[in-house]
Amino acid sequence: MPNDQSLELLSLPSQALTRLSQSAVQDTIQYFEPDLITIPGPRDAAAYAQVRDAAPDVFVIHPQLGRSGEHITHYRYSTDTGVREASNTTSEPGMIDVLAVQNLDILTRLQSELETNTRDTGSRAATFLILPQLSIEWNTTSLSTTLPEQDQLTAISNCLPEPVTVLAGEQPAEYNHEWTVQSTQSSDTLLIVGLGAHNQGSATVAQYSCTSRGTVAAEAVDASKFGLKALHGVGASTAQRLQQKECRTTQDVRNLSITELAELPGIGPTRAEKIHGHADVIESGEPLVLTNKTPIKTRGNQPPVCLDIETDGLSPTIIWQFGVYDPASDTHQAFIEKHDPKNPETVLEAFITWFIANHGNRTVLTWNGYGFDYPQIKQFLTQYCPEYLDAWDDVWTYDLYKWAVRDGNALLPGRTNKLDHVARALGYEAAGTGLTGAKTAAVYQEFMRNPDDPEREPDWERHKQYCKDDCQALWHVYQAITDAKRRDMTDSGTGGVNGQQAGLTDF
């Protein structure tokens, strides 16, 4: 099977599209650079037109429309050829296929076409089946779940030699579950991944890396992070006013003078400066520090050590990896529980004794540590090694995410506040382990269920690398912030209501 060939599929649910201006749709497409786009959920001709207009060169899958009597849409992909319509190409074994049906009733026809080989798919690379309206149903009174059309889906999966992955339109973008479908003869598994057109919660768009092995990794971003609303301090009404001034993109905002911005209703000089600053950050990829505060206090002229932990889930039963990167010596130390996943104490004690002995006098830096890492470390110390609690309490701990984002001390590029997105936007080149926090947790969970099965033993080196990568990404972001342009907004912008004071034109 060809290794790691992967198709980038962007999902733009119509609920998200209705919240995006046309230039914001363009911004989204520019940001993700997808190979293929789909609009899951109900039939929506306006949404289709919106996307076709914004991305004339990319195929857009919206079979719900039933254009020219078309019920099944079929594309093939390989790195060499890019995406092509199936009708214009012949199938090659190594090509990834993307099939989409107008509605669930069409599945019968698709099944028979695949079974009779009237429709060919690449046998050595995965086939992705988009079902725009599919959602999982559950019943809390009977404590049961229903995967609609599960027999049909299993039959399709079984008649093809390659992996088949189902992309369910109406499931949330975070949904990624391997279904076990029990029948009288056999037990089959089927990977179902959500495309995000569900009604609850906020509107997100997501890009899916669909690999030839059939796995899918999603990057979901809130729709409000695109277009003018991505700018700190720009809401729906300000965005509208800006558009009326022919100012449609962040680049347009950047080209505007702060004075012009400040003249818009409801925007004072301080806010204008911040909006302009953020446009600058997004376009340039350089961070901007807004206050005269420093993110951390270092000790003994030493840089902070960067810490990251890995757990088995969001309410952890074990912290199974502690990774500490020391920029002073450019060394990384990892503590991993590889033998007894039901015992959180050994790895915890190994970490805490080493840390206190070697780095007790150093400042510790994390990304969202106050939200997760520090309370978890404290909780596990209280449970398993209470004798070290006081020593740990004496350590100077900092959280760069809290300082920059939550406390509003800096503006960062990147469309989410996830460390890897921020670091990537700041030019950090990741090691490319192909792991995410959720995936590394899931692999460890699998190990917890079968600790003695050598087949399922995780590739420890890869997981160590993933954690190290996060620590070094954090160091990269920290350096970018300490090196960044600094504009103390708290001191400026108070000079006059009309925003005419000097200083402002420095940008």
Partner: protein, 908 residues
Amino acid sequence: MSEHNTPDTGSQIGMTGDTLLDTFPRTSLTSESDFIETIQIPEKPAETVPAGDILRPELAEPYPFDLFSHQAAALNALEDNDNVTIATSTSSGKTHIYGLQIARNLLDAGVLNADGTRATERNDASTALCVYPMKALTKDQHESLTDLYDQLGLDIRVETYDGDTTGDRRAIRNEADVILTNFAALNVYLEHHDKWSRFYSALDLVAIDESHTYTGIEGMHVAWILRRMKRVATYWGGNPQYTLTSATIGNPHAHSLELLNEPVTVIDDDGSPHGPRDIVLWNPPPRDKTRDATPDDAPFTTTDQDSETDESDTEFVAERVPASVEAPKVFNHLTSSEIRTLLFCPSRKLTELSIQRADDHRKHNTREYDLTSKPQREAYNAGLGRRTRHSREHQFKTDVLTGLATTSALELGIDIGDLDATVLMGYPGQRQSFWQRIGRAGREASHSLSVLVGDHRTLDQYIINHPEYLLENDVEDAVVDTSNNSVFATHVLCASDEIALTEDDLDTFAETDRLRAAVQMWREAGYIDGYLDAAAHYCGPSRPQTQVNLYGNNDTDYRLELAPDVDRDHWGLPDDLDLEPVEQNRAYRDYHEGAVRLQNGQQFEVVNVDEERPQPVIQLKPVDHDYYTRTQNKVNVLDADSEETRDINGFTLHFGRGTVLVHYHSYDQMYISNSEPKQQMLATETPPILMDTQLCWVEVPDDVETALVRKYQHYGLETGVDPDETGMAHLGYVAGLHAAEHATIQTAPLELRVDKNDLGGLATLVMDTHYTHNEYDEITDSISESFEAAKHALEQRTQELGGQTRSGWFIYDGVEGGLGFARAIYDNFEALCERARDQLENCQCGQPNGCPACTFDENCGNDNKPLLRQSAVDVLDQLLGDADREDLSEHLPDDDYGGNRRPVVFYS
């Protein structure tokens, strides 16, 4: 409960029952009137034990009282490490039991020195959690515990921690010895249990106050919150003992066991005293409808004496002055005589109306009452919002107010000072609740008066006809049921968020199969990650705890707000209406568009219901209408699946689950003045609700059915139906089933602590068509919530089943997933039927189809038609074995009787 064992201050006689009857301005009223019954309850002395026999000297010496015998027994059981439930009367010193146990724990743990000073600043050794049903009660008990510890000279840190806490929350978590809260708050705080590690690791005692209030939906949620709390405590190393304090209930042991999932010792031998007490059972005089004022003449006056006839004139009484009209008069009379009185009303609306009606009564009796000094009276209910409620509590306590017209909100131990009298507008539905309300009047040795003003409906008339019922020893069972999967599933999410679920939770948190099924469901639905053999973590939208709604089962409540175009200044309305949200079933029943509700003295009309958002919103507009609204519904039962059956004299009783389709389809506008309809059958335009729920049903044996169909085959108009609906041979019989269904639901609260508004029923001639059948698909799958489709499907099913079906009636829990009420009815069916039969037989209405006191049900979807008392009595007599099957033989046909074709009819 805040004060007890205070020295005897001597009997201060407020007003006796006789004085009330003598002075009340109505000539026909005397203590000999046969619609008035007075029960005199003699004084009961205290049974006490010297504190020194039970408590160590450090506590016994400063403790200013002897201990009541039940307090002593409870403290001994706690000393033996038992969990204890204390089920005794109001103000019997229950708070002091857990208050003293906490003190003993702190002394044992060395947190306190023997002299009561603190041995350590930090307390990692012994903490206690006290949980109350309402914030107002928490406030009260906080004072009570603080007073106790002041008296004992103990430096114990008692802190309240709930939504109103504004101070340093972290300091409370890290330093308090005792934390007081409520279950809604506890539910939320469990998520961040790591911040509470000190508190939970040292947790020695959990006190659950007024535990009898945790029944139905709220009881289920509390049971699961306690199980989640126990997981958290275990995680941090705490292993608490539980103390439950309860009013007297029939099944304190079973109820506590279900709440706690741990063994418990019950102490219910009440050693506390009470003073002499008169209870007047007051049946309002009969009402002659023909002399009613027409609505147009007097839209706002209350029905007054001119419409009351003398009891002796009539042999049968088909209608009486409603308690909602009569009780405010008694309330006025007492408060005008400066008797501090609580009037308990069944609804928020009536608390408001009663104040108005009491004032009217006063104005209409100028000779009796001194109009220059008007007694101060106000309404009190949960709809008023916290600020207003607190202010009225305070005003009553300080004697600024002489009377409060309240809902059940003041039934519990909120301290509003002493009072002399209580008036109950209608029987509150439960003996336990009746005594709790009665018990609010009079403290210790003083004389107190309570008046139950009966309504003309089944329960009230049963009580007034059988006053001995009130004095029977066995009290209703409190029903709490943890088998509702829908509620359980929500708490599984919360638990997995708090601490990952593992195999350690099998059979400790929940039964193995059930927990496995729930985790698998949530994993497949995308809300839980991982497996129980490793760890199952929550991975859905943050804070699943906010999805727990203690008072309902739906995910989202309906928020009440003012419509945007309302001129607040014009109506004198505050910015924030301060009204509590309502759950879906209530929203559909009471807040459909066009509904008129009274809130805080102001009428509001529902102008818009917006369900197209995460939290649905109901918009209200202030109005000034001469009517209120009443909602009509219809019901069907589909796909009932029997899980358990038993035989009762040839009748088959079932318990099982099925789907109930309810539609609040229309409503009536009723004149406020006389409750007569102004306009009827206006569409609500709300869709039907489908509920998977628990059911109990009974099948009548063929021979009984055949005989009774024939016996009543000529009944028609007697059943209350219109002339064009007569002429069906089965009418008399099915009218009896319908009446029996109503009566068994109406009398259920006599045996069980259930709310009959959470029960519904359906009488039917075609029982089998409402069942699941292996050879057929479920009807629910094909009808998409349409009543017409359901009825059509049932007719078709009847044909297919070829007449092989029996008759009978269903009783169901009116909440998704069920409440355990149908289950409790299944277990107590004979007792219920006996009460129902007695009331049907003894009612004085003289109407073949009965009256509101025997067969009528205000929630009936068929406008209380057709109903037939006598055939219902026959059915129930046969079921109870009180009539011989031979008695029916004269009605059985001689040959093989083909009978008339069985019509597909059912009545709710």
